[in-house]
């Protein structure tokens, strides 16, 4: 490849965006190489996490056939935490195995599967290839440098993740702003499948997803998460990076995650499990208004590199947006294969098809979400207020008296402030 022969496309990064792109390109007969800095696909990748499958049916149906999903999510909870108490809203829905709504995944296995599928279509997926620089010629990107060696291509697809050094190098992102990122930390806890099914009340191959809000993040914007895998549990926290800046205490992430695991409503779920891995990853959470330009001629950004993540509080989506963007980039390149896919028109084609797709439409629809979710009252004020109100309703004191609903609600209204609460609720309804 270093003998000057030009590829059609070089994809940087073997994550779900890059591999979906490579698969689509190779399936259509284009010559594609995927440069991955880890020794194999997935080696550097981390998810919470779950993949929403419905949006990918048309775009990636063939690629995802037989994918190693962990469990189909049939039980969803949002949990408000306050001290040793919590209250939750839970939805149990019987999504069939044949039509999963979303599935939990582990990236080492999942990305390797995608890489194998791309390989079957004759994309070259190469590990230990760190791309250090872009090659630019005649006002466009003409390839990349890997360990000083040129890899030339008509188009470079930057699927190099949340930090995207290529987006920065190309001037598409001036600097990485803390307010546009969440820091995610996750532990993987091995646990027998039968225990998982018993504790979460799910059938084999079915699983649960839980989101926690409140003092799990010490009242900082963000939350805790728990996903069941086949024979393990993914548990962790995500905290908005700029909120960490505003905070003075000496708590570390390990303190947060350790306290989360010790909660009386969490500890029994993971009891007897063994932590086998500890990871951290950034989540681009800036939303629509933080999106960079999606490329320069000859360079297309996809997935996390393009900031394509949607966090609405109840939904956290990244991988489906990543895979969709990878496929759409590939299709634009395929559209221009007879001419020059490095031309500005091809990039415009990609921008337009992404803008017309659910990826950008959903992000635009929820463009206010990052701002709304950075309101610390959501994490500091409401979870304690709701938990305390409910607790008072279920308590009988020594005088033999309970608290009437009316009084409990009145007390809660005093704590949260009626007008402030109304304002916040109005905002949250815009999510």
């Amino acid at each position: 490849m270093s003998d000057g022969e030009e590829l059609d496309v070089v994809v940087v990064g073997a994550g779900c965006a890059g591999l979906a792109c490579a698969y689509e390109l190779a399936s259509n007969g284009l010559t594609v190489a995927v440069c991955e800095r880890g020794d194999v696909a997935g080696a550097k990748n981390l998810t919470g996490g779950r993949l929403y499958l419905e949006p990918l049916k048309d775009l990636c149906g063939d690629l995802l056939e037989g994918a190693p999903f962990e469990r189909t999510v049939v039980s969803e909870s949002i949990v408000l935490t306050h001290g040793d108490a919590s209250t939750s809203i839970r939805l149990d829905h019987g999504v069939g195995e044949d039509r999963p709504h979303s599935a939990t995944v582990l990236r080492a296995k999942f990305d390797q599967f995608l890489a194998d599928r791309a390989g079957e279509k004759e994309a070259f997926v190469m590990g230990e290839q760190r791309v250090d620089e872009l090659i630019r010629e005649d006002g466009k990107v003409a390839g990349v440098l890997v360990a000083g060696e040129e890899v030339r291509a008509k188009v470079v697809v930057a699927a190099d993740g949340a930090l995207s050094f290529l987006a920065v190098e190309a001037g598409l992102r001036k600097e990485r702003e803390p307010r546009h990122f969440g820091v995610g930390v996750k532990e993987l806890i091995k646990l027998d499948a039968s225990l998982i099914e018993e504790r979460f009340n799910v059938a084999p191959r079915q699983g649960a997803a839980r989101m926690y809000m409140g003092d799990v993040t010490d009242g900082l914007p963000g939350g805790g998460f728990l996903y069941t895998n086949r024979d393990s549990i993914s548990i962790g926290v995500v905290v908005q990076m700029d909120a960490m800046e505003r905070r003075g205490e000496e708590d570390t992430f390990n303190d947060l995650i350790s306290r989360f695991k010790e909660r009386p409503d969490v500890a029994p779920l993971i009891r007897g499990g063994e932590t086998v891995e500890y990871g951290a990853h950034l989540v681009p959470e800036g939303g629509f208004d933080a999106l960079p330009e999606l490329g320069i001629p000859g360079l297309f950004l996809v997935g996390d590199a393009a900031g394509l993540v949607l966090n609405t509080g109840n939904l956290l989506r990244g991988m489906d947006l990543a895979m969709a963007s990878g496929v759409l980039a590939a299709r634009s390149i395929i559209e221009f294969r007879e001419g020059d896919p490095g031309c500005p028109e091809c990039l415009d084609h990609y921008k337009k098809s992404l803008a017309d797709s659910f990826v950008i439409e959903e992000m635009r629809l929820h463009r206010k979400a990052p701002k709304i979710l950075s309101n610390e009252r959501i994490y500091k004020v409401y979870p304690p207020a709701v938990v305390d109100m409910l607790r008072s309703l279920f308590e009988v004191d020594e005088k033999g008296e309970g608290v009437p609903v009316k009084r409990a609600v009145k007390k809660m209204r005093r704590t949260v402030g009626t007008w402030a609460a109304m304002r916040d609720i109005m905002r949250i309804l815009k999510l």
Binding site: R107, M244, N254, A280
Partner: protein, 91 residues
């Protein structure tokens, strides 16, 4: 469980040379030293004898938090050389 114990569970091959380099001058005038509590791996600390912020790159999870959060742009951070660094077995 201490963070060191958790890091010890990971598959990782540490390079002799650090992929994280600090601008000592900038660090010396830094008031927040936010890297110390922001790093999920707890790799940043203050050297008691000198009161300098130091970083031990072994165990780095390669998230990039330190580079992004540093208010003084004092963290020069690159991906470890191929063949080195974290290798997520589960992810």
């Amino acid at each position: 469980m201490k963070v060191e114990e958790k890091l010890a569970l990971n598959a990782i091959k540490n390079h002799d040379e650090s992929h994280i380099v600090l601008d000592e001058e900038a660090c010396a005038r830094c008031e927040t030293r936010i890297c110390i509590r922001a790093c999920p791996a707890g790799l940043y600390s203050v050297e008691p004898a000198t009161n300098k912020v130091i970083v031990d790159h072994s165990g780095c999870l390669e998230c990039g938090t330190c580079m992004v959060i540093c208010p003084l742009d004092a963290v020069t951070w690159r991906y470890p050389d191929p063949g080195y660094g974290i290798r997520y077995r589960h992810g």
